[in-house]
Amino acid sequence: MQTEIKFAGFGGQGILLSAKLLAYAAMKQGSQVAWIPSYGPEMRGGTAYCTVVISDRLIGSPIIKNPTHLVAMNRPSLEKFANDIKPDGIILINSSLIPVRSNREDITELIVPANDAAIKVGSVKCANIIALSSFAAKSKLVDLDILKECVKEEFSSKPKIIPLNMDAFDEGVNIARQS
């Protein structure tokens, strides 16, 4: 069993980080994981894509054309990748920045106003954590407690922002549960 999740948005949104946290949690649960960035001559504000592969066996090709799920943090990402997602997947749409929908009948849309919710929690910077925990709660790919612990560990060198990110994490889970 192998699951692939594409995280996409613009540079500076914390795309690579939220993908890494998901991979980290899955690894702690004993899965095989790979985190594959689309690297290029990129800059802040440019595009940022990243794929996480989670598998119960050795991961073959790290190049994934049709991922199982998509976390789209901005409009160009949704428009570019929505049609690549396998049927029955989840497409998370950051509705704070994306006014459109995927136009797919065969997937589950998870509408998360990540930026607005992040501002409410305290800082727009934690929109990626809200999207991550929402996606994790909906997809049930990883244990939420383990994932939350990974978020905490990630920010261990900046203890001041841990409470903010913990609140963001809980808020993301709530949004997914209410959807």
């Binding site: 890494k20 991979a23 980290y24 690894m27 095989q32 994981v33 790979a34 985190w35 594959i36 960035p37 690297y39 290029g40 001559p41 050795l58 991961i59 073959g60 090709s61 790290p62 190049i63 054309k65």
Partner: protein, 356 residues
């Protein structure tokens, strides 16, 4: 030790430290600059030295200098950078010095691109620099193997007193995977007092050591080349590494592929197996010495009708595969090298076409 999630480039840096390397000289180039970024932070913590050279040419000779002193030393670069270092690599080989070179290959020729490629196969295995020397070339297929091979490279460099190359690619450098650093791969440095220019103060002998690559006397130069040849013959006997995949079946086709490309092939083989078509793979883990006999034997299995060299280059390794198969089976090539890694679907098609 618990597994940690690390980027290939950072993991290679950490592996060098774990192997006891305290000298690292480099010049930044995408897609491997994270090795330098990681090691410039990490080396001072272990009393190590990082110098960013003014160019790859300079870095090559910094490596020569440290290697000549018998120190464990490494550099990392990517394709155009390795071209610039190639002169020094030839000198280091000629002077019998141990050193580790990591090439996180990007697309070429020229400045090319920054995406993964295997276009430096010839450069790594057939020379790059001038003269009758070879490099022992290790080709990892993921982050864990990159770590293990980096650690083994220091041991091999000292065993043969020769430059060793790790041939990765941009994807292995950039990708994060769980890694474990195995302490058992660390070896104690060999005694260098009988050859290294490490100063008379530490040595008991009163004859001076000389590290050089200039041999104006033809007989002396010929002898040096014979000595190099003897090492390469020993490598062919003792260091060949490869992995077989799905080879215990009556496979109809045999894929030869290494590094990142071999992982894509593994996925293709699984797909074809599910459809009832058995295909095997032989993955060289050393590109020099090349698994010549293993390829000949695997190709000659009765059920096998076709051999394919699948590589992210325009057909380099295929020449070695043809040499090993010795005309016993048709040998095909498939590859791409603009930076896009061939898809599992494309490989399935190529394998099926080769059986028509």
């Amino acid at each position: 030790m618990a597994k940690v999630l690390m980027k290939g480039n950072e993991a290679i840096g950490e592996a060098a430290i774990r192997a006891g390397c305290k000298n690292y000289f480099a010049y930044p180039i995408t897609p491997q600059s994270e090795v330098a970024e990681y090691l410039c932070k990490r080396l001072p913590e272990v009393d190590g030295v990082f110098v960013q050279g003014e160019s790859e040419v300079a870095v090559g000779y910094m490596i020569f200098g440290a290697a000549g002193c018998g120190e464990r030393v490494m550099t990392t670069s990517s394709s155009p950078g390795i071209s610039l270092m190639s002169e020094a690599i030839s000198y280091i080989a000629a002077a019998h010095c141990p050193a580790v070179f990591v090439n996180i290959v990007r697309g070429g020729p020229g400045l090319g691109g920054i995406l993964p490629s295997q276009g430096d196969y010839f450069q790594a295995t057939k020379g790059g620099g001038h003269g009758d020397y070879r490099l022992l070339v290790l080709a990892p297929d993921g982050v864990q193997e990159a770590v293990e091979m980096t650690m083994q490279a220091f041991t091999l460099a000292e065993k043969y007193r020769a430059p060793i190359m790790i041939l990765g690619d941009g994807l292995i450098g950039q990708m994060m995977e769980p890694v474990e650093f195995r302490d058992d791969l660390k070896t104690e440095p060999t005694n260098k007092d009988d050859w290294a220019t490490n100063g008379m103060g530490t040595r008991k002998s009163d004859t001076r050591n000389l590290v050089k690559s200039l041999f104006l006397d033809p007989q002396e130069l010929n002898n040096n080349n014979l000595r190099l040849k003897a090492k390469y013959e020993q490598m062919k006997k003792e260091e060949v590494q490869f992995e077989l995949y799905n080879a215990d079946t009556d496979y109809q086709a045999l894929i030869i592929s290494y590094g990142t490309m071999s992982r894509v092939c593994r996925t293709s083989i699984d797909t074809m197996k599910a459809e009832g078509l058995e295909v095997a793979m032989l993955r060289p883990k050393t590109l020099f010495p090349f698994p010549e006999k293993a390829i000949f034997d695997a190709a000659n299995k009765e059920s096998c009708k076709s051999v394919l060299s699948i590589e992210m280059s325009m057909g380099q390794m295929v020449e070695d595969v043809e040499r090993c198969v010795k005309g016993q089976r048709p040998v095909h090539w498939y590859g791409e090298c603009g930076g896009d890694v061939p898809t599992p679907e494309a490989i399935v098609q190529v394998v099926k076409d080769s059986l028509k």
